[in-house]
């Protein structure tokens, strides 16, 4: 609108300057809000893990978490490789133990008063002991620790407590630290973590610090199967350096750093009379790795060729005249026969019954004798068998009698062992390595996982 558009008598008054303060304040507020959001996210990222800022702090974190009975915190404080080896199996174990009626389902973890750990006035050495560029030893030089427990107050079921006859009383111990307690801390990706395995290695080495020459370098393989193959061949040829070399440096770096020092303390083993002819594997993916199981293997033991294959949960063994297929359901009879044989102060040998080249011994035992399958042989030699035969007990020996429930529990146990038996491998820096701790932890978890219902209690009743 211009002056000409206005009616006579009107004029345009000067406008007050537009208020820009409002926009400025809004913009400042927006920037402040964004800054606060950024700060919150930074704090949040910091809180989501990453290790401690120093070796001392890493050890203090563990002690603090132990005092709080904070199992998650303790696991979180461990070096990532060690944590990975233990945590997966621990989770599975807890689930299995609940299912099997060992741990109470509705246990309140915040109310666990079964174990208590209290550290008082702990003092630390001024300086840590440097092992290498990523490991330092923290020394607790003084203070005291109260350690106690009452099994009856742990989250076990009453049935388990009754079985173990756990006393419902607190057992405490007061320990005054009068000589340094050494705990190792490992630096991983810039953060410090307490290390169980370096602490154990330090103790095993008598607190001596390994020199650079004591280190056994990690040498992995191109595939998981090659790693297990290398492990088996190295073990059979008693090449300890190669065995250690193929072990994951993430999980057991301590074994590499202290390797030569620890190996020097071992007695020189005798050569094994075993030659590995061939070996074939099957692999199954697991979290962050592969589990490698033996599919079939061919060995020569003192000149005797032995072939073994695992198929469908059953193991088939060929050794000269012996040809046997053993399945988990055979286990109760096998164990019964072995125990019966041992009770005679010697092993008893069953022989295949029936003269037509092998036969059935027991309801599930498939036993074929190559020697006896020769029709032309006038007196077929009895095939030695590791399985109990109908003749078990011939010498007056008593095999244990299992109930149906016990047989089923043993079968479940063996099914777990065979189906999950394998070596866990993981990739580090593009190469494949063995993870022995995780292998053992997973094996335990898988065996527990294979048990059903009352199996654990039924197994515990055997021999009682």
């Amino acid at each position: 609108m211009t002056e000409e558009d206005l009616a006579p008598g009107f004029e345009i008054l000067p406008q007050p300057p537009k208020r820009r303060h409002g926009k400025l304040l809004t913009s400042i507020a927006a920037v402040v809000v964004l800054g606060a959001g950024g700060a919150i996210s930074y704090v949040a990222f910091s809180a989501s893990g990453g290790g401690a800022s120093s070796p001392d702090k890493a050890v203090q974190n563990v002690i603090g978490d132990l005092q709080n009975a904070d199992l998650i915190g303790v696991l979180d404080d461990l070096a990532p490789g060690e944590r990975a080896a233990l945590s997966g199996a621990l989770n599975d174990d807890v689930a299995s133990l609940k299912r099997l009626g060992v741990l109470a389902d509705g246990a309140d973890p915040t109310g666990v008063s079964g174990v208590h750990f209290a550290a008082h006035d702990l003092t630390y050495a001024d300086k840590t002991i440097t092992v290498n560029d990523h490991v330092q030893i923290v020394q607790i030089t003084g203070g005291s620790v109260d350690l106690g427990g009452n099994v009856a107050q742990l989250p076990f079921t009453q049935r388990f407590l009754d079985l173990t006859h756990a006393p419902d009383k607190d057992q405490s111990q007061h320990v005054t630290i009068d000589h340094p307690v050494r705990i190792a801390a490992e630096k991983v990706d810039g953060g410090w973590y307490a290390s169980l395995f370096y602490t154990a290695a330090d103790a095993a080495a008598g607190h001596r610090i390994p020199a650079a020459g004591d280190s056994i370098p990690a040498v992995g393989a191109d595939t998981p199967e090659d790693a297990v193959d290398k492990l088996i061949r190295s073990a059979l040829s008693l090449d300890l350096r190669s065995v250690i070399g193929i072990v994951s440096p993430d999980e057991l770096g301590a074994l590499h750093d202290y390797g030569a020092m620890l190996a020097a303390n071992l007695p020189t083993p005798h050569a094994l009379p075993v030659t590995l002819k061939s070996i074939d594997f099957t692999s199954t993916p697991i979290t962050d790795g592969m589990r490698v199981s033996i599919k079939d293997v061919s060995l020569t033991v003192q000149g005797q060729q032995i072939n073994a294959a695992i198929n469908g949960g059953c193991a088939t063994v060929d050794a000269g005249p012996l040809h046997e297929t053993v399945c988990p359901k055979d286990a109760p009879n096998l164990i019964g026969g072995l125990v019966g044989g041992l009770s005679c102060a010697g092993f008893s040998y069953g022989s295949s019954s029936g003269g037509s080249g092998g036969g059935m011994v027991g309801p599930h035992h498939v036993i074929k004798s190559r020697a006896s399958s020769h029709a032309s042989s006038p007196m077929p030699a009895p095939a030695p068998s590791i399985l109990p035969s109908s003749g078990a007990g011939t010498f007056g020996c008593q095999s244990p009698k299992f109930t149906d429930a016990q047989k089923q529990a043993i079968t479940d146990l063996l099914t777990g062992l065979i189906s999950s038996g394998g070596v866990d491998t993981a990739q580090v820096g593009g190469q494949w390595f063995i993870t022995p701790v995780r292998t053992l932890a997973d094996l335990g978890a898988n065996v527990l996982g294979a048990l059903k219902g009352d199996d654990l209690y039924v197994l515990s009743s055997i021999g009682r």
């Binding site: 959001g37 996210s41 989501s48 709080n68 998650i72 915190g73 945590s87 973890p109």
Partner: protein, 129 residues
Amino acid sequence: MIVVGSFLPWLRSGQASRNSYATGGAVRQLLDTGRVVDDLLALWPVIGIACAVAVALFLIGLRSLAAVVAGLSAIAAGAASIAALAASPSSFAKVALPGPVVTLIGATLVALAVLLRAFAAVAVPRSSR
């Protein structure tokens, strides 16, 4: 409320409690969560800056965009809260209620606000206001 709730206890283990970020870190390190969940948990700390961006956009007048960011934040926070509340306790850890509940309330309020704004935008055209 979403941001405040994220700093309240989400997990108790023994006598210790953890906020949502420490819980996310522990879950990623101790459980086999799978790639997708692991990536989402890794991104969870971004929720703070996302809420801040929504507020900043609202302040500078970009209200539709602010509603979109706020809506996404509410969905993420609501999903995290529900997942935490639905998680089964283990024998050594269990979900703490304050964090997930406050976050869920915050996420619900934000989601309602976003829906109301969207409804208003559709039902009351700009020209008639």
